[in-house]
Symmetry: C2
Subunit: 431 residues, 2 copies
Amino acid sequence: MPTVSLTDAELQTKRRSLFASNSLAFYRTPLVLERAEGVWVHGRDGRTYLDAYNNTVPVGHCNPEVVEAICRQAATLNTHSRYVHELVLDYAEELIGTFPEHLNKTGFTCSGTEANELALRIAASHTRKTGFVVANFAYHGTSMLLDDLSPFAGGTSGANVRVLKPADVYRFGEEGVLNHFTEGLQEAIDDLESKGFGFAALLVDTIFESGGIFPHPTNFLSSAEKIVHQSGGLFIADEVQAGFARLGEIMWGFQRHGLTPDLVSMGKPMANGLPCAAVVGRGYLIDAFYDKSHYFNTFAGGGTAISAAQTVLNIIQRDRLTEHVQEVGEHLLFGLMRLMQQHEMIGDVRGAGLFAGIEIVSDRDAKTPDNKAAQAVVNGLVESGILTGSAGEFGNIIKIRPPLIFSKENADYVIENLDEVLTKLPRKLGS
Amino acid sequence: MPTVSLTDAELQTKRRSLFASNSLAFYRTPLVLERAEGVWVHGRDGRTYLDAYNNTVPVGHCNPEVVEAICRQAATLNTHSRYVHELVLDYAEELIGTFPEHLNKTGFTCSGTEANELALRIAASHTRKTGFVVANFAYHGTSMLLDDLSPFAGGTSGANVRVLKPADVYRFGEEGVLNHFTEGLQEAIDDLESKGFGFAALLVDTIFESGGIFPHPTNFLSSAEKIVHQSGGLFIADEVQAGFARLGEIMWGFQRHGLTPDLVSMGKPMANGLPCAAVVGRGYLIDAFYDKSHYFNTFAGGGTAISAAQTVLNIIQRDRLTEHVQEVGEHLLFGLMRLMQQHEMIGDVRGAGLFAGIEIVSDRDAKTPDNKAAQAVVNGLVESGILTGSAGEFGNIIKIRPPLIFSKENADYVIENLDEVLTKLPRKLGS
């Protein structure tokens, strides 16, 4: 290990020499981090940032209870799932217990990508079809198949993939969105059938994170579900973003929509940052798939990650984080609504629980997305010590998605600084 | 958490009720594990087993240095790679330092599956082709694409996949194997070209683990490499099994074959059991791929796993594990050779470093694979307190692949017990 520290600029150069030259680092001036705890992240330069972005640490960076669980288990037993480990069974039982009764079996994986891959393989195996439908500008993972199923990534989708029109109620209205997810879905399925692929599954992130964060209305996905099931396909709820109490009141995003998914994939927040993910689904689907396949995932369900995941689930339940997230989320949303009254460039504010999107527009009437201004706001916020990000097809939606332990005071701090950044921003910056 | 312990049988029932009913657990009587340290694994029933199987813990179960690194880092900072983290850069630099000069950039992932997916995406992007060639009975991962590229899994391979004939020198001789990997490869490539897929890459595990463990000869893969490069495709070395000093003398399996791979994937042993994997490859390939794609992997390169990986690499280098593995591996192989002289059912013994395969046959002259007898030996060994497994197209090859810190005494213990198990085994069990 080198003993002489490099400057931040030298570290950037080193980064570009070891990874892809253009590996994206967040923010105009990338952050060199040193340590973190709770909702706070500390730069190597001594600066402290409020983390209003990272959903991978739902119970806070370096949560002491999680760290203790990791240490204890890493020193005791961390092996694969072809041996029997009671701790892993107990967690599987408790995780399944957070789902409606029909979702009664699980398969662990290492990442959301692997969870979606497993869900898609189960769907293809069950239906013996290869056609998939996804939402506009969706992102579902890094594998070759999931890249095809991720219009976000910009690649041409495979011949067996259909993409729905946006769930963007702000621009298309409730009726427009309902049409996209009913008539549009039926057309997509018919087209897949007519081209010989058949229809295997609709895969959908129930908060539409990369598409632009659309928590409302909550009626159109249940209409889509009816069409999916009438067509003999499976409904896969991708809860990598929406799950684990993120949206307040309930544990899973699909519950807000009154859905009965066949398979649910989850990942990011599951083990507070250790790689850990899963599919939970109808038992007969999971049984049938494993009967036919040789699926085995070496690292999945390892004791150390599961021990962290168990602690996260304990804390969510013990500290009633669904209620906490609902309360702080409402407080945050209320504050953002107030800002919208004062700042012309906020075209829309929307959210559920601790997942909020702020549409930055150059023209409120025309609802013109203003990516440049949004990026200026995100960079302004990091300069004032707050981590956020952006989302949506036009990159103009500021994304606030903090650890679930975020407090009302944290939310107020975001509001105050956002107010200042917006006030200082040159008007019509991006137009 | 339940306070009353379930019996082992009740745990099995619980396992079948939470996961797929037929989720494979190793051994006739599945092991319920409680703790492990070094090369020893402890069952909940108080029994202790010598671990001659698990490559995921190269420096030993619950290695105290690794545990300390995990604890320290989990309590300090564990975040994604869009922030800059010096520890992660230092590890990337040291990892790349173990490769020949032309392999000079890396991309981290969470699992071998994700590493192979990344390598295949890079190859497809670079060549603009979609045809892949793999070895007989190969296993490369759990995604839909990799399942297609894993004849091991028994599924019908995709139209864009060709499978080479076995590297089984025991049955086909050196010339036969060389033919499979030259003429056979050329035919596969020609066929992919003629069918319009074109040829993107040969993906090959350089120890042929699932195919049956074929460490020798070491000449045919370099002939295959020439054909791959003449055809404009990429050579991807899958080092998930062979890498990180497993084969003795050298760090990477492809080095034994004098290869110049374009991309190398690695995983399993990298972080001593925490999910952690990577691709290392030619910089221009990695740069070009990230230029064109939006590849980002949330958990990959997280501080906690990388801290464990750094400790593993430190120990491999500090304790000269390549030399240790070579020495103990030779001792083990010598012992197994002696057993072959005494036991008719051992048709062949082969290995490199601490990766040995023992062919169990019912007829030495006909080289008839005897799966039943091999399973009886594996189960006999576990009853005598030693964990092994089986491999190969016919499941008749006993696989010995212990932690790298295995000692000569550990190897002797395996030999002695294997001798006893073989002696007690009814002759002609499987024929």
